[in-house]
């Protein structure tokens, strides 16, 4: 199949053309108007907008959208220009510890990777944080996700599975662990996953004096259960708050549930 025909049109433009010989020409004029190549009072544009209701509607909608984008730009510049750096905001005290822990995690994971490549066992390090943050590119998270993907694919092939997802209407979302428990792992929940979506797990400390401190995070998993190695949860605090978020294929959050748990020693 040719990409560009003798007019230089690609498949999409040919589809436009099939809707009517003047359709593509109208789009080109609107495109030129949006690019500023045709003035708003250009007689060709004025005449087209008077004659074609579809063009008029689309042109107005695009001008509205552009105006919204411009307003957002002005708003952003105003916010950034007026940040009050002299007055700490909620969470300001978390910036340094979170980023240092993420950087440390990244170095540790790179060390593990290098050790595996060289066939050596990474030296046990007293530097392993007692408050690990799984972070964004955690190899552990990738491994958990990879194992879960296979299970998710198997489930998605099941013809008896009901794929209908009631967004934000998960009434059966029982989370475990909840309340007093002997072990935090496995983490389980009964939320539905939209096609192409992901679960995200976040764990915070719930110990007085450090409530809200980020403990661990799994960026993406695809099953309703995550089993973590004892070495990972061993250093978690004795009281945690944890959350499951559900994201759809466009990475929009569609649901979230939280629970608190205490580990009995």
């Amino acid at each position: 199949m040719r990409f560009n025909d003798e007019r230089g049109f690609n498949d999409e433009q040919r589809a436009d053309d099939r809707r009517g010989p003047h359709r593509r020409e109208h789009e080109l004029l609107l495109e030129a108007a949006m690019a500023g190549d045709v003035a708003v009072d250009d007689p060709r544009l004025v005449a087209r907008l008077m004659q074609c209701a579809e063009c008029r509607e689309l042109h107005e909608a695009l001008l509205d959208t552009r105006e919204l984008v411009e307003a957002a730009v002005r708003d952003e510049r105003d916010v950034l220009a007026n940040l009050d750096r002299a007055r700490p905001a909620p969470g300001s005290e978390r910036v340094a510890p979170v980023l240092r822990a993420l950087a440390k995690q990244r170095r540790e994971l790179q060390l593990v990777g290098a050790g595996a490549r060289d066939g050596e066992t990474p030296a046990a390090s007293g530097g392993w944080s007692t408050r690990r943050i799984a972070g964004a590119v955690g190899i552990a998270a990738s491994l958990v996700a990879a194992a879960s993907i296979a299970q998710w694919l198997a489930r998605s092939d099941d013809p008896t599975r009901d794929d209908e997802v009631l967004l934000g209407a998960n009434t059966k979302s029982k989370l475990s662990p909840a309340g007093p428990v002997k072990d935090y792992s496995p983490l389980q929940w009964e939320l539905d996953l939209p096609p192409g979506g992901r679960f995200e797990i976040t764990v915070w400390s719930n110990v007085p004096g450090e409530v809200g401190a980020l403990v661990d995070k799994i960026e993406a998993c695809y099953d309703r259960k995550v089993t973590l190695e004892p070495s990972r949860t061993r250093d978690w605090p004795d009281r945690i708050r944890w959350r499951v978020r559900v994201f759809d294929a466009s990475d929009t959050e569609v649901d979230a549930k939280e629970e608190e748990a205490e580990r009995e020693r």
């Binding site: 916010v79 909620p90 980023l99 809200g212 929009t252």
Partner: protein
């Protein structure tokens, strides 16, 4: 004009170098990044205030941590086309939108009127700040190229000629990508495409 002042591109190049140094684990780079990303809680606080303060301090703290981990995970994708603060701002807006949606799903308490999100299709003269959060979240749904062109055109105020050079397009290709991106953006912003405000 003071020729000793750094140009816009120089400032952005400096930001790109900083990020690359952080990713290389260069000495001192992380602490400089921490200073810069101190803007995250400040941006979120300011956005919260402009939106009628729907989130409390604990929620803002959680949101700060969420946003930082997301920014960190995407650090390698920073290309220096905008300042670090502008780049981070879009993440703050996206995470704020998710937090607002999440809170709206929970049973509303008295005083949660700030969560009553107005008609998202309202003309810009009546645009609320929630529309800005939604706009940023919706921009992220465009193709990478369409996003880049729109951001360079509006947020970085580049000409189509400059955009074409920066992205390796022809000038006409940049204009077409811009047009198609704006058409798609409008479609995604339309009320029927957004179930959560039904």
């Amino acid at each position: 004009m003071n020729t000793n002042e750094p140009t816009r591109n120089d400032q952005h190049r400096g930001d790109l170098e900083l990020v690359q140094e952080v990713l290389r684990d260069s000495a001192g780079a992380l602490e400089r990044l921490i200073e810069r990303l101190d803007c995250v809680p400040l941006i979120l606080r300011e956005r919260n205030v402009r939106s009628g303060s729907p989130l409390n301090d604990d929620e803002l703290t959680d949101l700060t941590q969420e946003t930082l981990t997301t920014v960190w995970s995407k650090l390698a994708s920073f290309e220096g086309r905008a300042s670090l603060e502008t780049w981070v701002y879009s993440f703050c807006m996206h995470q704020m939108m998710n937090a607002l949606r999440s809170k709206k799903r929970r049973p509303q308490q008295a005083g949660d009127e700030a969560l009553d999100i107005p008609d998202p299709s309202a003309r810009p003269a009546h645009a609320s700040t929630f529309q800005f959060e939604h706009l940023h979240a919706t921009l992220a749904q465009l193709s990478d190229l369409q996003q880049a062109v729109i951001r360079l055109r509006h947020f970085a105020e580049r000409s189509f000629e400059e955009i074409a050079v920066e992205l390796g397009l022809s000038e006409s290709g940049a204009k077409t990508t811009y047009y198609r991106g704006m058409v798609r953006l409008r479609g995604l912003l339309a009320p029927h495409a957004r179930e959560e405000f039904a």
